[in-house]
Every structure is written in structure tokens, then in C-alpha cells.
């Protein structure tokens, strides 16, 4: 039948397509000039969220159009596949996709006809209702445009997603708009836009107001393994509803200050742990037998939950917000963070301590509750207990976190402690100071017939200790030896570990010690009547300089730390110390570092010390960091010389 179609219709169709999609768009050549060497860009990302009332309750419809402009045939095989995510809170109502492929002088629209929906659980989550709809664009090649448009439905306006302007490809134009009833109050927060690249316009049409945020020519995101999360540096807009009017013309508050957020949060707890449980009482009593102080009791309960409850997360729908009953968690022996918080809180309360459910954002979220009083500020729940007027933050998802320490991923974050249905406290979680997270290494070296031999004893304290306890869960038998060798190895990969012993001097404070005898063939150079050896067997501050021109995001350290290594070399019989390198020391806002050499009788002692002083090495710190490197690197090249007497 196609053949009989009048030519004019075809022509018109082609024209229409060409007109509607290409008139405002730039040509491949123009875009290539803007983004030399790039394979593809997003020419347009456009999201509109329209809030309206359904039976007096606000609901949101999010329409998003995204167009990827292909600049190079290389894209074929890389950018064909696309996915749209959705869940019960964010239902996918429509997805349409097509490619506009160059065709002669015009373009040809080729629709995607097949979509595959499957489960897409979040990282570390056993089950939730997240789904992905996957499809492949046809004809991905230079000049084609991969177009997808979606419509999502949010039945609850508590869950409006932030809008990010940047992506893994450069974005030529990005627009986010929000339309909402005029009697509704809406607020927005713009993040990471120091250079004011985001334009905001407000307008009104009929009974609806509109807020529009747009930006253009946004660079593609750079990724670094050690970097802070995307939300720390990427430009984005957060919008939220403050209040609206219901059918009865009453004002309904939604979000405003932390008060409103807390009210919403605490409603999830109303039915939790309301009835006493014989099981919990029995468990709590048996854990606390013989414990007299609150500190001891809390410590014992924390350790019990850490040791007996495994992390398994069911997070479908409201399961993501409502903790389970403590008694259920106790008998099932598994749960997610909220479930562990529920059990901890209940056991502590049962034992007469004052413990509370506590919301918190892990360090992957940059916001405080004061800045962003919204659910996106937290992603985690713990229990907080007050002992001797001091808050202790208990997170049992880490099986070896030390009682009294926060888990490392909530250090410095604001905790929202739920005291009662209408009372809360905002408390900043402390950052554990460096000397508490220490590695102290004492290594005794000797040279026997050119072979460097040694004995090392290394203490691991604080987070280093608890990390080691956790590693040993997974490394048993032969694997424990392999693990110990990896921890102890120094000098070169020819490090041969002989006997070794791992001990746990204090398993309340998770300290550990590994000691081993070893030899490192070929490490010391013995030539003619001299021996050369570098006493920095481990180079603790061994980095490549940071590219200050390019890198625009901070480095995230897991924790502050202090490493001290003392290497004592016995001068072999018949030799004397011929050359001792100079000491160095660097101290700035980010790092303290020193190498100190001395001779004491027949021993050469080299002490290397490295203190990490900041959780976040900001871009403004990079210069100092590089300066430290410039000073330290040459020092690492200095070897000592022993000479035959």
C-alpha cells in the first residue's frame, strides 16, 4: 500500500519532521565545534513537573524529554541502550522513544517498539519495588538524535525528585519547570551554582504558577574513585511544597522547617514497638546479666545486635520508611538499618536506658536538615542513646563498629533524634579524631648475608581495627594467611611472610595486632663493601599530584587517621653507618607528615608519621596537598648507606 501514497504526503511528513525537530537545533558540525572529540551530547533535557489536585490532594505528573545528539558513528554500540526507572512511588505512565536518523537531506523517525520491564533493586537491597524499563534505540550514528519521553506519576508530593543539570555527557540545554496551583506555596533550593549558570523565571498562567530553571552548555561529569558524591558538586535544584489548600479550604502544611519533616517522619513510628514483648525482655535481660552501668549495658546490647542481626533489606513501598517491630527483627535475625534501629532502641529501653529512633543521612548526602528539611536529606536510620549526658550513636549495620564510635559513614552528619512524637533534637555526630584511628608499626630489621630479614608487630586501632575484624570474617583458613601477608607486606612484592600471629588484645575496642617474621630478598643492595637500603619500606604518602586545573571536586577520606611506622635496622657486624638521610616534616591544614632518622648504638631508627587531618580535602586544599607531595617525594628517595669498617 505504501507505494500508492501520494508523494506530496510523504514530502510533507518529512518536512514536518524536519521543521519541528531541526529548526532550533544546531547542526552536527556546530555542536562538534562546541564539544571537540565528544561522541555524543544531550542536546536537550527537559523535565516538567505539574502539580494538580485530585480529590483535594495534590498529585504530580512529571514529563521528561531527553534528546541525545550523536556526533560520531562510534556511538553505535555504546549509546544504543537506555533505561527508564520507576517504582510504586513514581509510577511510569508512558514511555516513548525513537531515533531521528539522517535520511538524505532530512530525517527519518524510527520508533522504538519493544520495551522490557524488570526489577531493579537498589544497591545492597534484597527486595524493593524499583523497576527499570529497558530499550534499544535503532540507527545510532552520526547526526541521529535518540529521543525519549516519559511520564511519571507521583501520588504523593512528599517525593519530588531533585533535578540535576549535568550528566555523563555534556548537556547543551537543560530545563526544569514546575507548574502548580496558585494557592499552593512552593520553595526551591539551588545547589552548587556558584557561577550562577542557572536562570530562574517565575510566571503565571490562569490559575497556575510556573517556576522554570534552565542552564546551558553544562560540562559532562568527571568521575574519580576517591571523590565525594555527585550531589556535593553537581548543579541541581530541589523543589518542595510548603503548603496547599484542601477541598475544605484549609491550609495543609507539607514541608517547611525541620518540624514539618519530623512530624512526617515520626508518623511512621506510631505503631512500632508499642506493646511490651516477653522475648525482648528475656533477650535484654540475658545480654545485660552482670552489667551494672548504663555504658556496659548499652555496649553489650549494641554488640549483640551487631553479631546476631544480618543486613537483609526489604524496602518495597512504605517498607522503605517504616521500621519493623523489634520482636520480629529479633526472631528473624535479619533486617535493614531501620529494623536494627528498632531492635536496638527497644532492647535499650527495655533495659532502662533512654534510646531513640534517629534519622540521618550518610556522608554521601551533603545536606543538613536545616538547609534541606526534606526526606532526601536522610537515607539511613540508627538508634541514639544518651548516657551520662552524652549522645552515643548506634548503627548496627556495621558488625564491627566500636561501641561509642559512630559508623565512619555518618561522622560529622546531623542526626535527627526522635524524642517523642512531637519532640526531636538535632545533634551533630562527632568526627573521630585521628589518633584514635591509628596504625602503629614497629619493625625490627637485620641483614643476614645480604638478605633483609625482619620482625614486625603492627597494632590496629579504631576504624582500622574494626575494618580488620570485618575482613577476618571473610578470610579464614588459608585465606587468613593471604590476608595477613597482604596487610604486612612492605618493601616489595617479594615480601616473604614466615610465621604470623593475629591477636585481639581488646575486642570491645576492636584493637588488633598482627606480628610476623619475614624476609625481603633483593630489597637491600649489598655491593662491594657497602649496603644501601631505603628505610621507608612503605611509602605512606605516595600519590600523584592533583590536577588543579581539571579536578573540581573534593576527595573524601573514610576517616581521620594516624599512621606511625618505626623501622629499626641493626647495623650488621663489621659495618658502620656511612650516610643517614635528612629528616623532613610537613604540616598544613590537611596533613602532618614527617620522616625522622637517628642512630642509637648499633641501630638505625627511621620513624615515618602520617596524620590525615580532614575528612574532605577540598579543591581549595589541593595546592597545599601538592606542595606537601613536592617536599615528601624526594625524601622517599633517600637511602641509608652502611660501609664495612
Amino acid at each position: 500500500m505504501k507505494k500508492t501514497l501520494p508523494c506530496t504526503t510523504l514530502l510533507l511528513t518529512a518536512l514536518f519532521l524536519t521543521v519541528s525537530y531541526c529548526v532550533t537545533a544546531q547542526t552536527v558540525e556546530e555542536i562538534q565545534k562546541l564539544y571537540p572529540g565528544k561522541i555524543a551530547v544531550f542536546s536537550n533535557i527537559n523535565r516538567n513537573v505539574d502539580i494538580s489536585y485530585s480529590k483535594g490532594v495534590p498529585v504530580a505528573k512529571a514529563t521528561e524529554v531527553s534528546e541525545m545528539f550523536i556526533l560520531d558513528d562510534k556511538a553505535n554500540g555504546i549509546y544504543n541502550k537506555d533505561k527508564v526507572y520507576h517504582s510504586s512511588f513514581n509510577e511510569l505512565k508512558k514511555v516513548e522513544a525513537y531515533t531521528l536518523a539522517p535520511d538524505g537531506n532530512g530525517t527519518k523517525k524510527m520508533k522504538v517498539t519493544e520495551f522490557k520491564i524488570q526489577s531493579s533493586p537498589g544497591r545492597g537491597i534484597f527486595y524493593d519495588d524499583s523497576k527499570e524499563t529497558e530499550f534499544d534505540y535503532p540507527k545510532i550514528g552520526k547526526g541521529s538524535i535518540a529521543h525519549v519521553e516519559t511520564e511519571h506519576f507521583n501520588k504523593d508530593i512528599h517525593f519530588l525528585s531533585p533535578f540535576y543539570f549535568s550528566s555523563y555527557l555534556p548537556v547543551v540545554n537543560a530545563t526544569f519547570s514546575l507548574t502548580f496551583p496558585e494557592d499552593m506555596e512552593v520553595r526551591y533550593i539551588i545547589r552548587n551554582d556558584d557561577k550562577k549558570k542557572i536562570t530562574v523565571t517565575e510566571s503565571k498562567k490562569g490559575k497556575k504558577k510556573k517556576l522554570e530553571f534552565s542552564a546551558s552548555q553544562i560540562k559532562d561529569d568527571e568521575y574519580y574513585a576517591d571523590a565525594v558524591s555527585h550531589s556535593y558538586y553537581a548543579q541541581h535544584v530541589i523543589v518542595y511544597v510548603v503548603q496547599y489548600k484542601n477541598n475544605d479550604d484549609e491550609i495543609v502544611p507539607v514541608y517547611n522547617t525541620v518540624n514539618e519533616l519530623y512530624k512526617w517522619n515520626s508518623a511512621f513510628l506510631k505503631d512500632i514497638n508499642t506493646t511490651p514483648s516477653a522475648l525482648l525482655k528475656q533477650v535484654a535481660d540475658s545480654i545485660c546479666t552482670g552489667k551494672t552501668t548504663d555504658w556496659e549495658k548499652a555496649g553489650a546490647i549494641y554488640n549483640w545486635v551487631q553479631n546476631h542481626i544480618k543486613y537483609v533489606a526489604f524496602e518495597a513501598g512504605l517498607e522503605g520508611f517504616v521500621p519493623r517491630q523489634a520482636a520480629d527483627v529479633c526472631s528473624k535475625r535479619y533486617g535493614d538499618c531501620k529494623d536494627m534501629a528498632s531492635l536496638l532502641t527497644a532492647l535499650l529501653n527495655t533495659s532502662g536506658l533512654k534510646a531513640y529512633f534517629t534519622w540521618i543521612g550518610t556522608r554521601s548526602i551533603p545536606y543538613t536538615y536545616n538547609d534541606v528539611p526534606l526526606p532526601i536529606t536522610d537515607n539511613h536510620m540508627i538508634s541514639a542513646v544518651k548516657i551520662n549526658d552524652k549522645w552515643i550513636f548506634l548503627d548496627a549495620t556495621d558488625p564491627n563498629c566500636i561501641f561509642g564510635f559512630p559508623t565512619s559513614n555518618i561522622q560529622g552528619k546531623q542526626a535527627l533524634i526522635g524524642i517523642s512524637p512531637d519532640k526531636f533534637e538535632l545533634v551533630k555526630v562527632p568526627v573521630v579524631t585521628p589518633e584514635k584511628n591509628a596504625i602503629i608499626d614497629s619493625t625490627f630489621l637485620s641483614i643476614d648475608k645480604k638478605l633483609l630479614k625482619g620482625f614486625a608487630s603492627v597494632d590496629y586501632l579504631g576504624y582500622y581495627g574494626s575494618d580488620l575484624y570485618t575482613s577476618l570474617i571473610y578470610n579464614k583458613g588459608d585465606d587468613e594467611r593471604v590476608y595477613a601477608r597482604r596487610r604486612m607486606a612492605k618493601g616489595s612484592n617479594k615480601f616473604i611472610m614466615n610465621d604470623y600471629k593475629i591477636s585481639f588484645p581488646d575486642n570491645v575496642n576492636k584493637t588488633a595486632n598482627i606480628r610476623s617474621n619475614f624476609e625481603i630478598p633483593d630489597y637491600a643492595k649489598s655491593i662491594d663493601d657497602e649496603i644501601y637500603i631505603n628505610l621507608n619500606l612503605e611509602k605512606l604518602f605516595n600519590y600523584t599530584p592533583l590536577d588543579t586545573a581539571k579536578r573540581k571536586m573534593a576527595i573524601e577520606n573514610d576517616y581521620l587517621s594516624e599512621i606511625r611506622q618505626v623501622h629499626l635496622l641493626k647495623i650488621p657486624e663489621g659495618y658502620k653507618l656511612e650516610h643517614l638521610p635528612k629528616n623532613i616534616a610537613v604540616s598544613n591544614a590537611v596533613v602532618d607528615f614527617s620522616i625522622e632518622y637517628k642512630q642509637v648504638n648499633d641501630q638505625v631508627i627511621a620513624t615515618q608519621k602520617y596524620v590525615t587531618k580532614k575528612l574532605y580535602i577540598e579543591v581549595s586544599d589541593f595546592k597545599e596537598w601538592n606542595a606537601a607531595l613536592t617536599k615528601i617525594s624526594p625524601a622517599y628517595k633517600e637511602e641509608i648507606v652502611l660501609k664495612k669498617k
Binding site: G37, N76, E114, K139, I140, Y474, D522, K525, Y532, K637
Partner: protein, 659 residues
């Protein structure tokens, strides 16, 4: 197995008519599927007392029976697992049961017997059912688990019958104490079964109208991943297939390799006239010169297909194998890529054979047991050039195929025409690998001290050929320019770390440079202080670090598996060093290493380094050779010595002393 290959043998047994009376199998089921009301905890077997978890029993009964006129397969599965510690609990507290296409999982029961002996059932309401990463599962979490608990679960999968199967009973993480697998089939169906690596097949027994094939093993240890070890072929397993239908003609073997060959050939070449037309247009657009030889045509067709068509085995499409649709959409899957390539070859009248390789790092194709399910991957072989092509390998070009698909046996389908009928004859043969000297990771490096005397100027050229080049070339084929530049810098930094790299040059970066194995050359001038240490007034030049960090095997766990390389190869390095004026090298003899293994006077494996010093010019010649692929346990020590010799060279430091 590839779904596309599966389509045609679902139906092959429907014609069988039998009276499948209920056999007296109760004894078998009750002994293998004991689900008692009062389960008793077991001791951790002495042999595996350190294991985190163990399968006390893994029992599987595969029953084939007729329901109405259709054959149905029931897989009865029973597992009893003991967990000893936290790691064991974490390994088994989440259970996933696969739900195959067109199948259903019934009778699912799961429970925990905790260390105190208390029984905790998993309620049916907590069993989820989802498709994750393309596969459907029923899954659940085990409740009440503690150290010393046992996990018991059973289910029955009802499915369309599959007349081929493999069951593996060995893993990297968990030992098996008792393994039982039985095939329960109507008497007239004769399955052949083979056990591998210790799994024993018992003799067939017949009870009434039912034939039973049973296999058993016990105390199966973990088989861990090792450096240069390919564990899959060494796993304990059973392979089985239906070979005779005694109710028809008892002596005619069915489900043979030839039958498979004919079927697949038919499927691969079954294309419509419209598709042929589309292929013809696609081929013509390649502008192949009229006088091009066969090899040129093959190369040009392959390159055109791989450039124009996105080959993705996870493509969301039902008609990925329709050539007209593939050309139109620019998308196809692995099977479609083979079909596409064949259609183009047929269009140009080029002779080829379809080859199914026994992939070296997977379970092998066994010639004597025609397990069609094992046929996963496809190559094309050209008798005229005696070379191979891999249709779905986007980053490779003729005559290169994935190295694990070569140096192995393969099932070759030779296409023959008798009268009007064209069909394929299947025969096993060897798929050779391109010889070792074609795969090089070579380098030429010239080093001198800069004017300051504190750092070095290094002119580095890395020369990569054959498989040595195939990991890098995709950088240019698929990355944007800025990422290419970053990657190239990183490659150069493997010679010496530095932020100061000048004169970067790359040559022969196209994927098609593999056609004639043109060397991929990456060169640059590195300015670095990194390879120099100071000891008083002496300079220590870490010459060994120029060859980059090396794999080492200085201190290994006891070896379980023979060593096997991905591909045989050579590494020839020429290191030149201009000794600074006024200096001498105190330990030049350290540069000599000579470890070689010879067979019939040919070096099969070795690491040698030697030097010459002419005036101020030191030249070091470092040669590392891996001529063969496989080194059995008896040769493992030598293999280790050579690997470690390279790692030893990496630690050589030259001491420079002022005269």
C-alpha cells in the same frame, strides 16, 4: 544455551507413545527428600571443619513423564546446608531459585533449623517473584539463622522437557558432603550420562516402566580461583542427554552432533527473499573492488557489519535475527550477527564452515556426549584461507577470535550440497591459535639523566601486536578524544610514573590494523624523578621498574589447577641507558638472568636478560617467552620460576658511583 538455537528441538519427542505407569519410586524420593517433622542437626564433617558453610546434601531428581500426550519434566530439588560462621550465614541467608522460561516452580518449602534445634519455616507470603537482570527468580530470606544452623529447602520445577543437561556440584566457596542426582525416565528412553572429575555414574536400573540413572559423589572440596587457573573444566559434574528411543528404532542414535549441525545450519541460513535483498544492498554499499580476493572480501564484509550494526546479545527485541529488520534498525544479537555474516558470505559466494568452539574457560564440549546445550558460541572458518572469524566480537577483526575460543576443539559444520539439498555435516576438529610470536608486548626504551642530575628523560615505545594489541585498540574505536588521551597517558605511565609526558604518538590504532597484524605503537617522552634513589653520593637507578609491575607468585597457596595462559606470547624489551659522564655502574652483572625451559631444543618458556656496555651506552635485552598455553602441575614449578624471574627483574637497581 542461546535461545535462538533452542527453538527447534523442543518438539523432537512428542511422537513417542507409551504407558507411563506410576513407577515404584517412593523409596528413591523418600531417601533423597527427607523432610521430617523433627529434623536433627548434623555435625560439620571433619574434612571440612573449617568451612564457613557446606552442602550436607544436594539431591536432584529429574523426572521425565507423559501427561496426556505431552512429555513433561519435573526437577525435584532438595538441599540441606549447614552454616558455621558469619560468612556462611551471609552466603546462604538469601536464596534465589531460578524460574526458567515456560516453567513453574511448585512445592517450594524452606526452613531453618537453628543451632538450638528450633524449626523456623519461611512463610509462603515472604517468597518474592521477580525478573532480575533478565532472569526470573523466586527468592526469599532465611529467618532465624545463627551459627550452626541448617537451611533446608526443596522445590519442584515443572518445565518443557530438555533432553540435554549438566549439573555441576563444585564451587569456589562451598564444599559438598553428599551429592546425588538421578534421571527418572520412561523405560523406552535411553539417556547417556557421563560423570567428570570424580562424579560417579551408576549403572542404569529399570523399575517397572521406569528407567533410573543415578550419579553420586561425596566430600567435594572447594575449587578456588587461582592465578592462571581455569577452574570450570575441572568441576565435578554430570552431563547427560537422550540418545535412544527404544520404542521406535532402538539402534538409531538420536540427538547427534550431525542432527544439531543440520538444524542450526537450517536456522542460520533460513532467510527470506526480502532479507536477501536487504543484505544484497548492504553488501553492495561496501564497494568491494571487483578484483578483490576472497580474504579482502571477508575482511571488508566483517568490518562493515561490525561498524554499521550494533551487536548486543541483551538486545530488547524479538526479531533481532531478521536481517531486513537488523539493517533497518542497525541492531542485532549474537545469533543475528552470525546469520548476518553468513548471509553476506552466501551473497558473495564465499565458502565457510560454522564452528562451535569448546571455550577453554567454560565447561567443555565433549565429543562423545552430544550435549546440545553446551553449544553457545559461534565462529566461522574459511577453508580457503584456513582462518577464523568471530561474528559477535565487536572489538576483533579477522583472523582474530577470542583467545579462549582458540587452541581448543570445536564442532565444525561443513556445508555440502547433494542434488538440490544443501546441508551440513558435523565433525570435531582443532581450532588452532595464532602462534605465540604474533602476540607481543614489546618495548624499546632509552633513558638518560637530565641536566639537573635529579631526574630522567625516558623515550618510551611500547609495541603491541596480536592479542597484545586487542585490549587497547577499543580505546580509539569507542572513546571520546579526551578519554583516549587519558588512557594513552596511563599506558605510558606503566613505564614510569610522571605527570610530565611529551611527544605522545600513537600508530596503527584502527581495529582493522589487526588484519595484517600491524603493530600498535604507543610512544612518548617521560620526564620523571621516580626511578632514581640516592644513597649518599651514589645514584640508584631502578632500571627494573621500566618493565612495569609484574605478576608474581612468590608465596602461593598449594596449587590445585594447572596453569593456562589466555594466549601464548612474547615480551621483548630493549632498554638503553646512557651512563652519565663520570659515573660507573657498580653492579652491572645483576642484569643477567637466564631461566629457560626447552623442549626439543626450542625455548617453550623462559625469561632471559643480558646486556652490553659500549662506552657509556648500556643496552639490556630482556626476553620473556610463553610459547605454549598449558603448563600441567608437573611443570608448574618452572612456570612459577619464569613468572617470578620477571618480577625479580622488576626489582633490579643499578648503583651508579662517581669515578
Amino acid at each position: 544455551m542461546n535461545m535462538k538455537l533452542k527453538h527447534f528441538y523442543i518438539t523432537c519427542l512428542i511422537s513417542v507413545i507409551t504407558l507411563n505407569t506410576n513407577a515404584q519410586l517412593n523409596g528413591l524420593y523418600s531417601s533423597r527428600f527427607s523432610w521430617t517433622d523433627k529434623p536433627v542437626l548434623h555435625q560439620m564433617p571433619e574434612k571440612f571443619k573449617d568451612a564457613s558453610a557446606i552442602y550436607l546434601y544436594d539431591n536432584r531428581i529429574y523426572q521425565y513423564k507423559f501427561e496426556d500426550k505431552d512429555m513433561v519434566q519435573y526437577n525435584h530439588v532438595y538441599k540441606l546446608i549447614k552454616v558455621a560462621d558469619d560468612k556462611g550465614i551471609e552466603m546462604f541467608n538469601k536464596i534465589y531459585i531460578p524460574v526458567y522460561r515456560n516453567s513453574e516452580v511448585n512445592g517450594l518449602k524452606a526452613r531453618v533449623i537453628n543451632a538450638a534445634g528450633k524449626v523456623i519455616d519461611v512463610p509462603a507470603s515472604k517468597i518474592k517473584d521477580e525478573t532480575i537482570e533478565g532472569n526470573r527468580y523466586r527468592f526469599f530470606a532465611m529467618e532465624g539463622l545463627d551459627k550452626g544452623s541448617e537451611i533446608e529447602y526443596t522445590y519442584v520445577t515443572k518445565k518443557n522437557p530438555s533432553y540435554f543437561g549438566t549439573e555441576t556440584f563444585q564451587s569456589a566457596s562451598t564444599p559438598y558432603a553428599n551429592v546425588n542426582v538421578s534421571l527418572v525416565v520412561p523405560k523406552h528412553l535411553k539417556f547417556e550420562a557421563m560423570g567428570f572429575n570424580g562424579l560417579t555414574i551408576l549403572k542404569d536400573s529399570v523399575i517397572d516402566e521406569t528407567r533410573i540413572i543415578a550419579a553420586h559423589s561425596e566430600n567435594v572440596p572447594q575449587l578456588e580461583n587461582e592465578k592462571y587457573g581455569l577452574p570450570d573444566p575441572y568441576m565435578q559434574r554430570i552431563d547427560f542427554k537422550l540418545s535412544y528411543n527404544l520404542s521406535n528404532t532402538s539402534n538409531v542414535k538420536i540427538n547427534t552432533w550431525s542432527e544439531l549441525g543440520r538444524n542450526i545450519y537450517k536456522n542460520l541460513t533460513n532467510i527470506s527473499d526480502k532479507e536477501k535483498k536487504a543484505i544484497n544492498k548492504f553488501v553492495n554499499a561496501a564497494d568491494i573492488p571487483a578484483n578483490a580476493d576472497e580474504e579482502t572480501i571477508i575482511r571488508m564484509l566483517e568490518d562493515r557489519m561490525k561498524n554499521k550494526i550494533n551487536i548486543d546479545d541483551k538486545l530488547v527485541s524479538e526479531d533481532a535475527d531478521n536481517m531486513e529488520a537488523a539493517i533497518k534498525s542497525g541492531n542485532t544479537d549474537n545469533f543475528g550477527a552470525s546469520k548476518f555474516m553468513i548471509a553476506m558470505l552466501e551473497n558473495k559466494g564465499i565458502r565457510y564452515q560454522v564452528v562451535f568452539p569448546s571455550v577453554r574457560d567454560q565447561l567443555p564440549l565433549v565429543e562423545e556426549l552430544e550435549n546440545w546445550n553446551r553449544v553457545n558460541e559461534m565462529l566461522l572458518y574459511f577453508p580457503s584461507t584456513q582462518k577464523f572469524l568471530q561474528p559477535n566480537a565487536v572489538i576483533l577483526r579477522y583472523p582474530y577470535v577470542e583467545p579462549y575460543w582458540a587452541a581448543t576443539r570445536g564442532l565444525f559444520l561443513k556445508i555440502t550440497t547433494i542434488g538440490d539439498v544443501t546441508t551440513a555435516i558435523a565433525k570435531f576438529d582443532t581450532i588452532p591459535i595464532i602462534p605465540f610470536d604474533q602476540h607481543a608486548h614489546n618495548m624499546e626504551v632509552a633513558v638518560k639523566l637530565d641536566a639537573s642530575g635529579d631526574s630522567l628523560i625516558i623515550n618510551s615505545r611500547q609495541i603491541l601486536t596480536g592479542y597484545g594489541s586487542t585490549v587497547y585498540r577499543p580505546l580509539w574505536a569507542f572513546l571520546p578524544v579526551d578519554k583516549q588521551e587519558e588512557a594513552v597517558k596511563e599506558i605510558i605511565q606503566s613505564v614510569a610514573k610522571s605527570e610530565n609526558i611529551q611527544n605522545i604518538k600513537t600508530e596503527n590504532t584502527k581495529l582493522t590494523d589487526l588484519w595484517d597484524n600491524k603493530p600498535l605503537i604507543i610512544s612518548g617522552t617521560i620526564h620523571t624523578a621516580n626511578l632514581l634513589d640516592k644513597a649518599g653520593n651514589k645514584l640508584l637507578f631502578k632500571i627494573g621498574e621500566l618493565i612495569g609491575a609484574q605478576e608474581q607468585m612468590y608465596q602461593e597457596k598449594p596449587r590445585q589447577l594447572p596453569a593456562e595462559m589466555q594466549y601464548p606470547h612474547v615480551l621483548y624489551r630493549k632498554l638503553k641507558f646512557q651512563v652519565p659522564d663520570g659515573y660507573t655502574i657498580k653492579n652491572i652483572k645483576d642484569l643477567t638472568i637466564d631461566i629457560q625451559e626447552k623442549k626439543d631444543n626450542v625455548v617453550t618458556l623462559g625469561f632471559t636478560s643480558s646486556y652490553t656496555l659500549t662506552g657509556n651506552n648500556l643496552e639490556v635485552d630482556v626476553r620473556e617467552t610463553y610459547r605454549e598455553l598449558k603448563y600441567p602441575l608437573s611443570e608448574f614449578e618452572t612456570f612459577k620460576k619464569v613468572i617470578n624471574a620477571a618480577a625479580d627483574f622488576n626489582k633490579i637497581v643499578l648503583v651508579l658511583e662517581k669515578k
